[in-house]
Assembly symmetry: C2
DNA sequence: ACGATTGTCTACCAATTGGTAGAGAGAGAT
DNA sequence: ATCTCTCTCTACCAATTGGTAGACAATCGT
């Protein structure tokens, strides 16, 4: 039975550091120090830095899927409420872990391979949203429009908010969880206003 | 008379490279190579990499101020039209230069000093937007709400869209100028729907 | 004509990066 | 008891990073 804790702890530390300061800016040494282990131990668990990033992406994607599924299942049938629940659900881990979604953005700038692997994990989520929006529009329960555009805009806005707290705080905005939540609520209001049938 | 062209060319190259691949990921050597000069020449014009980043920020902020001012001045008096014009104006340079706004985001993750210097440049722009929204709401020409929240949301969304093309393309979205424009137009529609008095 | 200034260069440097090679500790199974 | 496998370690390495020191040419005002 492979000892899981070290690997898990490396993933946790890497996720936090990558998310806050960026993948390129964080060295394996720093991650190792954070975990209380040598850099070579990190390279034992992950063949390369790229493999580590990949592992972190797996973790993030898996978390997102679980969180979204749970939100969809427990939300009422009304599409606006359901969208609302998903937005709130996606924000919850993002607030708890600053930069979780910021990582998603940065990875696409690394290598083509990593951008592709990222797409494999994000695409299904967006596709689900597109299909859902399309269905509800066809049923007349949402104001009709281009579901792809709306999904893409929502995706961009959510990652925008989630990765922006540094800037917002610098501008005089509070970047704590409360500030992020009010911003999230404003987004929810926008979505309601724009999508209401 | 200081020869301006080399310095300007360095700034241009740095802006493009920083914006697309990130500040930490781009070395002075690479920028120098791009300009056709040695790295030490870059360090002659800018005392350090941080100073170069600072110079690039100055350039970006100055461009943004000019562009926004022009848009405000030439837009009709109606607040929705005016907001519309500003959104379009801000996107224009962002589309021409991929990652111009992405740079703004990343810089805040570097050092505290650079985050602060960034704030000095961005804050006035957001403050102007907040003041304007507040005035128009008070005059009953926009649906009332919290202007700070709306301005922050708009800022986050715009930088989100502008820095997301890589991800969106990876997901099957076209990241060319046309794709960015449809996304921008969707944002404009959202703003209209949410702000209309 | 000439000294000073401006701009670019060659030649280094210490520090850090991601990564390799291989030793050794610890536990389980036989 | 020892063999094996899992895990973490020490000891390196080549390459690259941002940055320094100083030579050399061109251009300038005088």
């Amino acid at each position: 039975m492979t000892d899981r804790t070290t690997r898990e702890r490396i993933l946790d530390a890497a996720l936090d550091l990558f998310g806050v300061r960026g993948v390129v800016a964080v060295s394996l040494d720093e991650i190792a120090r954070d975990v209380g282990v040598r850099k070579q131990t990190v390279l034992y668990w992950f063949d390369s830095k790229e493999a580590l990033v990949d592992g972190v992406l797996d973790k993030v994607a898996a978390e997102l899927v679980i969180v979204i599924d749970a939100a969809v299942r427990s939300a009422p049938d009304d599409p606006l409420d359901r969208i609302d629940a998903v937005v709130r659900a996606v924000f919850r881990p993002a607030v708890r872990r600053p930069g979780l979604l910021g990582l998603v953005r940065e990875v696409s700038r690394l290598s083509q391979g990593q951008a592709d692997r990222l797409a494999e994990r994000i695409a299904p989520l967006i596709d689900r949203a597109v299909a859902y929006l399309g269905d509800e529009m066809a049923a007349g329960r949402l104001r009709s429009g281009d579901p792809r555009l709306i999904a893409a805009l929502g995706y961009a806005t959510i990652t925008g908010i989630a990765t922006e707290p540094e800037v917002l705080r610098a501008v005089g905005w509070t970047a704590d969880a409360a500030g992020l939540r009010s911003l999230r609520d404003e987004l929810r209001a926008f979505l309601r206003a724009a999508l209401q049938a």
